[in-house]
């Protein structure tokens, strides 16, 4: 009997991927809730690594007719001291509940592991940059090629063989070009023919057919078709996001942590959603500097506070590299609200004159001490200033955050999909 041994290890994996997607789609709202809950408890970086989530099984329950209760009989192994007629005390209160293992509804919650991609997708679902793609369309790397039917002329590489052969065949049939087997048949008939008259007749016929097949070519240049391609412009919106963070001495570790979490979210969100978004990191004390993301998130720094320095730096960068007529410009600023008293005016001026006119959207996040509810505190100098600006119509969004758990809701609030980002009022 022949035995087949087959190596299936090389078969493409992920056979159940589609089932999994179906499952996630079905459980979407549940999983999304779980993802948000998980993300409040954990470090952002860990969160975005994906991982285990727990969802209530209720919505995903597959019901069956199950029986429960009643008198039960069971045979068990391992009797040590019982004799017939003994009574065992029931353990605890539930007589029906402590039934045999595997019975009952023991799995009321369902834990499973999400991959990084699935997790981030769900995490960032329904977030979007406000008013993206409003301005100019960039020219480079924005042309796609698309099939567009057939053409009579073109380069040999683009010959469509099937179309050409089809046309040639149609033409040959239409013009009644003699087929090869017809000629062969006739030749055989001539060879077999004995009658002289008939033979000449047949020869003439053969001559005619041969001439005809010469006149009508197998493939005519007329038949040849080329695949046609068209270039289509693909609009690519150019956007740049400025991240401004205060790292001065007045920012406690907790505040910095909040700010960094916020930017981490922003960073992941932008990186993932938009191919064509540039990100500029600016951190400032009393001086501002443009840094790379590594330094931005992890580098130590300390000093006084001059918010205007950061705005000035942003303004310079915009002037040098990002022409406002070509770029969508966004900015997000995080600070504890402290600013050197004398700097207020300059900050306001820079913002209204230089920054806000070129910005599509400017988000301000004020971070506070843990425990201190953001609402009790008297407004900080920066908050007062910005609030005044916003009331006079500047495209400015503002939120206060003092707990880790508030980061995501606030972030979500700032960037959720909506028509106009500016309309919502700050809390």
């Amino acid at each position: 009997m022949p035995i087949h041994i087959i190596d299936r290890r090389l078969n493409p994996g992920g056979k159940s991927l589609e089932n999994r997607q179906r499952f996630l789609r079905r459980a979407k709202s549940l999983v999304q809730g779980a993802v948000k809950k998980t993300s409040q408890e954990r470090d952002i970086k860990d969160v975005l690594e994906g991982g285990e989530v727990t969802i209530p099984l209720d919505g995903m329950h597959e019901p069956r007719f199950r029986r429960e209760g009643g008198t039960r009989d069971m045979v068990l192994p391992g009797n040590k001291k019982f004799v017939e007629g003994d009574y065992l005390q029931r353990s605890g209160q539930g007589s029906a509940k402590d039934s045999g293992p595997g019975e009952g509804d023991s799995e009321d919650a369902f834990r499973f592991v999400l991959s990084r991609d699935e997790f981030v997708d769900l995490f960032l679902d329904d977030l979007e940059l406000p008013d993206l793609a409003k301005r100019k369309i960039a020219q480079t790397e924005s042309e796609g090629i698309q099939r567009a039917g057939y053409t009579m002329s073109g380069s040999p590489a683009n010959i469509s063989v099937s179309r050409t052969v089809k046309l040639a065949l149609a033409r040959r049939i239409a013009l009644k070009r003699p087929r090869k087997d017809e000629i062969e048949e006739l030749e055989a008939a001539i060879a077999a023919c004995t009658d002289e008259d008939e033979r000449t007749e047949l020869l003439a016929e053969l001559e005619r057919l041969k001439a005809k097949s010469k006149r009508i070519p197998f493939i005519d240049p007329l038949d040849i078709r080329y695949r046609r391609f068209e270039t289509v412009p693909k609009p690519v919106a150019q956007a740049v996001m400025f991240c401004l963070m205060d790292v001065s001495g007045s920012m406690s570790e907790h505040m910095k942590d909040l700010a960094k979490r916020f930017y981490m979210l922003l960073y992941v969100f932008l990186k993932r959603r938009y191919k064509h978004v540039e990100i500029v990191f600016i951190r400032h004390t009393d001086r501002a500097e443009e840094v790379d993301e590594q330094t931005f998130f992890y580098g130590p720094a300390s000093g006084g506070t001059l918010v205007s320095s950061a705005l000035q730096a942003m303004h310079e960068i915009v002037r040098e590299r990002f022409n406002p007529s070509d770029w969508n410009i966004y900015a997000a600023q995080a600070s504890d609200g402290d600013n050197s008293y004398s700097d207020g005016e300059l900050t306001g001026l820079l913002l209204t004159e230089k920054i806000l006119p070129v910005c599509q959207f400017f988000a301000y996040l004020e971070v506070g001490e843990a425990g201190g509810s953001a609402f009790d505190l008297s407004d900080s100098s920066l908050w007062t200033l910005y609030e005044r600006l916003r009331n006079s119509g500047a495209p400015l969004s503002m939120r206060k955050v003092s707990e880790r758990s508030e980061i995501f809701p606030v972030f979500h609030d700032l960037f959720q999909r909506r028509e106009t980002a500016q309309e919502k009022t700050a809390p």
Binding site: S16, F65, E84
Partner: protein, 512 residues
Amino acid sequence: MTERLFEGADWDFHTLQRITDACEEVALKDLGLDVYPNQIEVITAEQMLDAYSSVGMPLFYKHWSFGKHFAFHEASYRKGLMGLAYEIVINSSPCISYLMEENTATMQTLVIAHAAFGHNHFFKNNYLFKQWTDADGILDYLDFAKNYVMQCEDRYGRIEVERTLDAAHALMSHGIDRYPGKKKLDLRAEEKRAGRRRQHEEEVFNDLWRTVPKGVAKSRSTLSIERRRKLLGLPQENLLYFLEKSAPRLAPWQRELLRIVRHIAQYFYPQSQTKVMNEGTATYVHYRIMTKLHEQGRITDGNFLEFLGSHTNVVFQPEFDDPRFSGFNPYALGFAVMQDIERIVTRPEDEDREWFPDIAGKNDVMGVLRDVWANYRDESFIGQFLSPKLMRHFRMFHLHDDPEERAGIRVDAIHDERGFRRVRRELARQHDVGFIDANIEVVDVDLAGDRRLILHHHVIKGSQLNETDAKRVLQHLADLWTYDVALIEVDANDKVLREYVVSPRPIPAAVA
């Protein structure tokens, strides 16, 4: 001395070939097994998880619930809560066995002996599998099912298909024919039978019967009820079959989906009835083959010890007060009974001669076992072959838990002369699907009135349906039936214990 099959733990495909050949030799010559052609496939852990989530089958239609199972298995596997099975074997011809690539050479030998010969023989010879499953056709059928579901999704929408499949899955455990249906006779056979009946009547004719008074004639209304039930084939315990044939407003493709789910449920029906025997057979066969290979010197002492280690784990039976206890281990029970049969056949004691007069001392171990494997299922197997010696060995006892009983749970019988038969009967009953599944059947349809479908649940030993689940399942049932559905729970005296009535949910979009 024969050549070693392998050294150490490593294997390659030539090793597998040699192992399979060696196992086959022992299986066919020494044990006299009769198997389907084998197909052995080596897979990775991920593929094994894939197979888990689609009930072990290599191809299956798509449904979210399989994704859920996959996610669940994967999570517990990653956490190390769950080991993966060493193998999965499919009742098909050729019989496909999946081997995990992580297994050592010894484990592969064990698995090949276990699955490719043990299970394989059982699938091919057991009467339940012969009666209910079509090993040649199952893979083609699954392929058809997969494509059909896919086409339906394209044509009628994923959500519609999902709704139907959800409902069908909920009723899957009640989509099984428990008894082979009666075959329709053709005319010639009918004529023959009528002839035989006439002949019989002539032979036993006695004019006295005419004088026996007849019972009360049935009223017209009873007759019409009976006629209606007969037309609908009621009572019917196969709910899916009933819906497929009689639900008034299902689209043809929905009926076909119900049919697919029903066929698959039916395909797995024998497996649920023969768990102990199936695993017992496979374990017994692998034990015999491995021992033989070791005797022949084809496996080293070290490898054999490795095998014994895994074998012992497989047939480990924790006692009832052990935290690891979770019911009888089918491997342990099945293997123990089969080894015990071997003992009874070759070295019977007086007790065995008394209990098993038919097989005690018969000396043809494989003959007896092959007969057992072919003609029994778990319930009858335990009921017939669990010996007093084995009951003493497992120290079995029977508990009777009546919630009404204040004193507690009664020890009804133990492993002694008075108790052997009762313990054995109870254990057999625990393995009888007739007692495990709820006994639910369609009894009537109010065709003239509101078309309400009426089901009965015959409650055994006061064990009623879980209310939340029952309501959900009935909701699915009502959605398919598209009129009200009533489920009445009745006890043995026809006393109504509880009554559910569920109305169908409105269908959001018109079904094409």
